[in-house]
């Protein structure tokens, strides 16, 4: 057990953070002492204390309650963005990798073009045109990660497709659908789970960044990036307004990165100990 813990320390550490934050998001109303936007729940700009563990903001809102409620938004944003990005990306990547016609060339050229572009920039541009809001931000972030997921799926698919077991499926007469669903997909899945975990953290980071720039969640939503932006004006006299939301983002992202790393080490035989 001790050996297991030391070997998988990072993964266990990451998973524990995720479990805690997941529970917080799930039971937010029961954990938070106040509603998220309850004004004058306490004195204005009071530093962290027993009554207000994360302090209060300029309107006397309890930061702890706001951060706890923000966990729900973060889970929401990350999930939706991931579903859009991973879902569409996997379909496009699978299609491009499986196809041997003009479709492959076309899809890959488009993906490569978009992939060389920073995801955040794509998300920024999308938000600029569809307007700033939390929903738009997560849609934009989701769309902006499609090229990444498509690229990863594609590169795994073409490796798997070149292996003899794929040909052996063709030789026994398996059709396209069967080859894709029973041959390629299960063998691509481990890689997708790994990048999915890393993608979750990217999405959260990007969405928080958009909110921080005022292009995502709008006040008074207690989204962590927005809380940070809010707290900026009181940077010197009330630093706790920035420390706690930022720390929360950091911990969630860290947790997903740790879990993703552990999984990629587990799934990638090259990374495993070899003699």
């Amino acid at each position: 057990m001790a050996k297991f813990l030391s070997r998988y320390f990072n993964a266990v550490f990451g998973l524990s953070i995720l479990v805690v934050i997941g529970l917080v998001a799930l039971f937010a109303p029961h954990i938070a002492p106040y509603e998220a936007d309850r004004i004058f729940a306490g004195p204005r700009l009071s530093p962290p204390s027993a009554a207000y563990p994360f302090g209060t903001d300029a309107l006397g809102r309890d930061m702890f309650s706001r951060v706890v409620h923000g966990a729900r938004l973060t889970a929401y944003v990350g999930t939706i963005a991931l579903v859009i990005g991973l879902g569409a990306g996997a379909v496009v990547g699978l299609a491009a990798g499986y196809s041997r016609t003009w479709l492959r060339g076309f899809l890959m050229r488009v993906i490569d073009l978009l992939y060389s572009f920073p995801g955040l920039l794509i998300a920024l541009a999308l938000v600029a045109f569809i307007g700033p809001s939390l929903e738009n931000a997560m849609i934009a972030v989701g769309i902006s990660t499609i090229p990444f997921f498509a690229r990863v799926t594609y590169s795994v698919v073409i490796v798997e497709r070149a292996k003899p077991y794929f040909d052996s499926g063709r030789v026994i007469g398996a059709g396209s659908l069967r080859l894709m669903v029973f041959y390629l997909l299960p063998n691509v899945l481990p890689a997708l789970i790994v990048v999915g975990s890393l993608g979750f953290s990217t999405a959260i980071l990007a969405a928080a960044g958009l909110s921080f720039l005022g292009l995502g969640a709008q006040p008074p939503a207690p989204e962590w990036g927005a809380l940070l932006a809010d707290g900026r004006s009181y940077m010197t006299n009330a630093p706790w307004l920035m420390i706690f939301p930022g720390l929360s983002i950091f911990l969630v992202v860290l947790a997903f990165n740790l879990v993703g790393d552990a999984m990629s080490e587990h799934f990638d035989p090259r990374q495993r100990w070899k003699r």
Partner: protein
């Protein structure tokens, strides 16, 4: 928009092709853009291209120094970790780098703003002067040094498991030569590719960092324009940013062709 005459509005509508079908508007925009005319900013009524170009040097200076810091920190640490693979030094460095890549750049920037000037009072919090680049460059550099360290490490580990490394050792070469000549050269080729890959993402991070530090570059202008829905400026910004990214990746491709003999002579 006070003080704008109906003629001016009409002139703007005509220039933007408003009121015409969307494809005509797009075609008009592209036609003008090819000729270097990106229209006028809505807020300041300046030509977009000139306005953006005036902010370009600030952006390039920040990118260059950020990338410089990232490489200067990330590359050696990545090598160190790969060379000591599996030992405590590797584990420690990799744990720090996970912290680094998980750090939201805007938060790191704010935390630096909050702490560093307190101890080092010659560093300005924001504003003008050459010293004001220190904090934003450091923020950008620290975050991306973690990325570079991780990618350098995996590139090196991949190379170190190659058969030719065993050959070099079987020849009785000193370990320093095995590392510097046989491992570093092939690894550096993949590191160039890696830098190309992260350059795009770094340009995205640049936008955020500029806004944290009120650095007067393209990213700050762009976010302002987005908040004000200044579409000609946004469009111009996206095109200019894309051009920078494409240019850099072409340059990196050329470096790659030049340093990889398999491509050069193949």
């Amino acid at each position: 928009m006070e003080g704008v005459t109906p003629e001016q509005i009409e002139e703007m509508r005509r220039q933007l092709g408003l009121g015409q079908p969307a494809w005509v508007q797009s075609a008009l925009y592209v036609w003008h853009a090819i000729q270097g005319d990106f229209g006028h900013t809505i807020v300041g009524r300046e030509p977009v291209l000139g306005f953006l170009l005036s902010r370009l040097p600030a952006t390039l200076a920040l990118t260059a120094s950020g990338l410089g810091i990232a490489i200067a920190i990330g590359l050696p640490l990545g090598f160190l970790a790969a060379y000591n693979r599996g030992r405590w030094i590797d584990n420690t460095l990799m744990f720090i780098s996970v912290l680094g890549i998980s750090m939201p750049s805007f938060w790191l920037g704010l935390m630096l703003l909050l702490t560093v000037p307190v101890y080092l009072d010659f560093i300005p919090v924001a504003g003008e002067g050459p010293a004001s680049i220190i904090l934003p460059a450091l923020t950008l550099g620290l975050v991306y040094s973690a990325v570079i360290a991780r990618m350098t490490r995996s590139a090196m580990i991949e190379v170190l498991s190659e058969d030719f490394i065993r050959t070099a050792r079987a020849k009785g070469l000193r370990e320093t030569i095995v590392m510097s000549r046989h491992a570093f050269k092939p690894a550096s080729i993949s590191i160039v590719t890696v830098i190309g890959l992260i350059f795009g993402s770094m340009m995205g991070g640049q936008v955020i960092v500029e806004n944290v530090f009120s650095w007067n570059g393209l990213g700050r202008v762009a976010v302002l324009a987005m908040q004000q829905r200044d579409y000609p400026t946004i469009q111009g910004f996206i095109i200019l940013f894309a051009a920078i990214i494409v240019t850099v990746s072409v340059i990196l491709d050329m470096i790659y062709l030049w340093i990889d003999p398999r491509v050069r002579t193949g």
